[in-house]
């Protein structure tokens, strides 16, 4: 099977090269046979790559330790769940996964838009084949072939890094990969529009779902990564501004900016240049993220993915950026706005400022991530840029963005009058101000936390107001019951009201982030029967009583577990267990250093987070770290609400693509005609 996998890689490479050539030449010359051939090359490449994936999975499940990748990332006693996910646990497998999913997305784009966007498809095929061929080339020519065989066959493999043996790690990397990979499809359509000079709203309609899909995958992937970091790494937080975390945030920020600014292009025919630049930039940032992850050029906690392939990505990144922006620059004269801004106080203007902040934050994160390299180049001194730097620069920007999340929907398109503004802002501003007052009177003195919660209340009030007004209008107009009116409002205006649900999720996230300002922690050494006491920010007193330590064997690990009884204000809540795990291979040999398994007790208000640091002199006397993290569950709820809102926005229906295209174009024409008339 692995021989077949290797052959399929070569076949996919050849098909990719052919598909790229046929796509670009066919698109330019208009030769139907070449266009058709490029399309078929994408399908064939997809089939070849998925056979290669099946071959690698076959090798993983059959413990073919003669294959270097299988020996490096699995062992005989690795649970099936993680054996399956070992496909993307390492560099080589994740490159194969990337190329395969890209070819699948490319094929789906070809199938789903075959009739509607025929003129763009040869170029789309060309771009997809070029990008996929690059990934295959890295595997074949940069010593990253997942089917590479060893000169000997080990008795057992090294096993999977214990930190990756967590359900969060099974879903987090593929979700992020899917987000990164799916950006290629909007990028391919944008390049196709530029190359074919078909720069009307067609390409925007074609990519609407793809951009949302990509954004949704990135959002879910980032949230899952935060969850994994929280439950597995044991440092009691979920975001550390690590370069690899930053790399995933960058395209998310620019994609979110695009999802807002594209509405202006659809409704008013403005920002064509900007939107194209955002799509190209987002895709380049996804490749940049891969470069950061793989190269090790910047030190990161994700060091298990580093290798020499990073510089292939750097070369590809520079070449792709040069080519994309060269085409973009040549087409600039075709990208003039069809209308102009009518007022500074309009939805369009607020979206522009929102875009400024999204791109500004992206720049600031990129700047901070690259500053160590820049400093070394300029002053010959390497510096460290950690959380204190990022928090100082980005928290004020994030709060300004949160404020705009509430302001944007309250301002009318084109021009807002003073009475209209007064009517729209009265309730949300009152709610936000009241929240700030209550917090101040309640004794909250952390400025950022206070602002986050007060602004969160303001934004939540705008969302409630929008839903209430919409439902009331339907109730009056159609006599629907309020619950039904709300449902129909959401169902018939999915983009708008789904967007408000995403805003609600962001509010929940910001408030949850603010909770971390009140984190409390302590370390203690306890003998069995002894207790540690920790005061919660809510005023409760938690007592942790060490019950004892037990040692036992599990499937692929030797476990040392400490159990603690937890009481709040003297009332028993239950027990918490935290572990040290020594992973072993199928022959009982230790594979990695002992890892820590955190004990977490969550409720809506706060998490009790207990880590077994170690044991004193081989006895049950244990060193623990106890942390109380307020509002952490709301981070996960916020993430779920964001994902739900994203799903509602992209749920199929709400008119055919032809209708959407007509509506998008019509909105622009209507404004123009009215202005002309």
């Amino acid at each position: 099977m692995t021989v077949l996998g290797g052959l399929c890689l070569w076949l996919a490479f050849l098909l990719g090269v052919w598909g790229a050539l046929a796509g670009f030449v066919g698109g330019r010359s208009g030769r139907r046979d070449l266009e058709q051939s490029a399309r078929h090359a994408v399908f064939a490449m997809c089939a070849a790559l998925w056979v290669a994936v099946a071959a690698l999975e076959w090798a993983l499940f059959h413990h073919d330790f003669n294959v270097e990748y299988v020996a490096a990332y699995t062992s005989r006693n690795l649970p099936i769940f993680y054996t399956w996910s070992a496909l993307y646990a390492g560099q080589k497998g994740s490159l194969l996964f990337w190329a395969s999913v890209l070819s699948l997305f490319g094929s789906l784009a070809m199938l789903l838009t075959a009739r509607r966007h025929r003129a763009l498809l040869p170029y789309v095929a060309g771009v997809v084949c070029t990008v996929a061929t690059f990934f295959i080339s890295v595997m074949l020519f940069a010593q990253a072939n997942p089917f590479h065989r060893l000169a000997y066959t080990p008795l057992d493999g090294s096993g999977l890094n214990p930190q990756l043996q967590n359900p969060g790690m099974v879903f987090h990397p593929p979700m992020l990969y899917l987000g990164y990979i799916s950006i290629t499809i909007p990028f391919a359509f944008a390049m196709a529009a530029l190359l074919s000079q078909r720069l009307d709203v067609d390409w925007l309609v074609a990519i609407r779902k793809w951009t949302l899909l990509s954004w949704l995958f990135l959002s879910v992937g980032i949230c899952l990564g935060m969850w994994w970091a929280y439950v597995e790494l044991g440092w009691g937080g979920y975001w550390a501004w690590d370069p690899v975390e930053n790399a995933s945030l960058l395209p998310w920020l620019t994609m979110t900016a695009f999802l807002h600014s594209v509405m202006i292009q659809e409704k008013r025919g403005m920002l064509k240049k900007w939107n194209l630049a955002l799509i190209i930039g987002s895709w380049l940032l996804s490749i940049f993220g891969t470069f950061i992850t793989r190269s090790g050029v910047i030190s990161s906690v994700h060091s298990f993915t580093q290798s020499n392939v990073g510089y292939f990505f750097l070369f590809f990144l520079i070449a792709a950026a040069t080519a994309s922006f060269a085409v973009y620059a040549r087409r600039l004269p075709l990208l003039t706005a069809e209308t102009r801004l009518e007022s500074m106080v309009s939805r369009e203007a607020s979206f522009l400022f929102n875009n400024l902040l999204f791109v500004g934050i992206a720049f600031s994160v990129l700047w901070g991530t690259l500053f160590p390299i820049l400093s070394e180049l300029v002053q010959g001194t390497k510096v460290t840029v950690g959380p204190p730097f990022f928090n100082q620069v980005n928290i004020p920007l994030g709060l300004a963005l949160l404020a705009l999340t509430g302001i944007g929907p309250l301002i009318a398109w084109r021009r807002a009058s003073l009475p209209n503004l007064r009517r729209q802002f009265a309730v949300p501003v009152t709610v936000g101000g009241f929240a700030a007052l209550v917090l101040l009177v309640g004794g909250m003195r952390d400025l950022y936390a206070l602002m986050a919660i007060a602004l969160g209340a303001f934004v939540a009030a705008t969302v409630v107001q929008e839903f209430a007004r919409g439902a009331r209008a339907r109730h009056r107009q159609y006599g629907e019951a309020y619950a039904l009116a709300l449902g129909r409002l959401l169902g018939r205006n999915r983009r708008r009201y789904g967007g408000y649900i995403v805003h609600t999720g962001m509010v929940v996230l910001f408030i949850a982030f603010a909770g971390m300002a009140f984190k409390t922690e302590t370390e203690a050494t306890l003998r069995p029967g002894e207790s540690a006491v920790l005061k919660s920010p809510y005023g409760w007193t938690y007592t942790f009583t060490h019950l004892g330590v037990s040692q036992y064997d599990a499937l692929n690990r030797q476990v040392t577990a400490a159990t603690l009884e937890v009481a709040r204000d003297g009332k028993r809540l239950g027990v918490l267990t935290t572990e040290k795990r020594q992973h072993v291979d199928g022959l009982g040999r230790p594979t990695f250093q002992p890892s820590t398994e955190v004990g977490i007790r969550s409720d809506l208000r706060e998490d009790l987070y207990v880590v077994l640091a170690g044991l004193v002199n081989g006895t049950e006397q244990a060193v623990f770290r106890f942390t109380i993290n307020p509002l952490v569950w709301w981070v996960w709820y916020g993430g779920m609400i964001v994902a739900l809102g994203g799903l509602i926005v992209m749920w199929p229906g709400g008119g055919s693509p032809a209708v959407k295209r007509a509506q998008a174009g019509y909105a622009v024409r209507l404004v123009g005609e009215h202005e002309g008339g």
């Binding site: 790494l233 044991g234 440092w235 937080g237 509405m263 659809e266 409704k267 030190s299 906690v301 060091s303 209308t339 203007a349 400022f353 400024l356 720049f363 600031s364 700047w367 901070g368 500053f371 400093s375 002053q379 460290t384 840029v385 950690g386 730097f389 100082q392 620069v393 018939r492 205006n493 708008r496 922690e521 302590t522 370390e523 050494t525 003998r527 069995p528 029967g529 004892g548 330590v549 040692q551 040290k580 020594q582 002992p594 890892s595 640091a613 170690g614 004193v616 006895t619 049950e620 006397q621 060193v623 770290r625 998008a664 019509y666 909105a667 024409r669 209507l670 123009g672 005609e673 009215h674």
Partner: protein, 198 residues
């Protein structure tokens, strides 16, 4: 059965006797395992499974001032975390506990937070700090994003102001049939489209 051998009844009697005689011995074999609040800690079955042995926590480990200093020092083990986070996260790391001991030792010598940080910088360079000191080129690190965003905001405001005052461009050539509608009707339709957020 051979009369010289052990009979089945005899064997069962001996076995029962042995079983009834042994329980106290078996119970005493378990006694090192401690119960809550009872005397010294029991020994672990296999201490090597639990990682390196630990020292009991000292008051300095929980000292907020020490922690605040450690949060500004970059652990050199390659984890990309600060010393405090690393030593309380990756309990297999040998680097951050050593750096922590150094911070505590310097503090016990009566050195201030800044003097402790300076001592680390003197030994390892500014890369030992979690954020670059605010001087020289590093100021660019702190202020370039904010200054650029502010400048872009000012430029955007001016451009939008100019755009909103400039005469509107002539209507582009329409691609579809003309709509026989009055301005009022078009305005109503536009508002409806806005409401539906197409």
């Amino acid at each position: 059965m051979d009369s010289g051998g052990v009979t089945r009844r005899g064997f069962l009697a001996v076995a029962t006797g042995l079983l009834t005689a042994y329980p106290p011995i078996r119970l005493s074999a378990q006694s090192p395992d401690s119960l809550p609040g009872t005397g010294p800690s029991g020994k672990l079955w296999d201490p090597s499974r639990a990682g390196r042995p630990f020292e009991p926590v000292r008051a300095a480990d929980n000292d907020a001032a020490i922690q605040a200093i450690e949060k500004q020092i970059h652990c050199t083990c390659g984890c990309n975390l600060d010393v405090y986070t690393c030593r309380t996260t990756d309990f297999t790391c040998g680097t951050s506990p050593a750096m922590h001991r150094r911070v505590v030792a310097l503090a016990e010598q009566g050195k201030s937070a800044q003097q402790i940080l300076d001592a680390f910088v003197q030994q390892s360079g500014v890369a030992i700090l979690m954020a670059p000191p605010k001087r020289g080129f590093n100021l660019a690190g702190y202020f370039v994003p904010s200054v650029l965003i502010l400048a872009a905001g000012v430029v955007l405001t001016l451009v939008l102001h100019r755009w909103s005052r400039a005469p509107l461009p002539a209507a582009p050539a329409t691609r579809g049939p003309q709509i026989p509608a009055s301005p009022d009707e078009l305005e109503r339709l536009r508002r409806e489209l806005d409401r539906l957020s197409v």
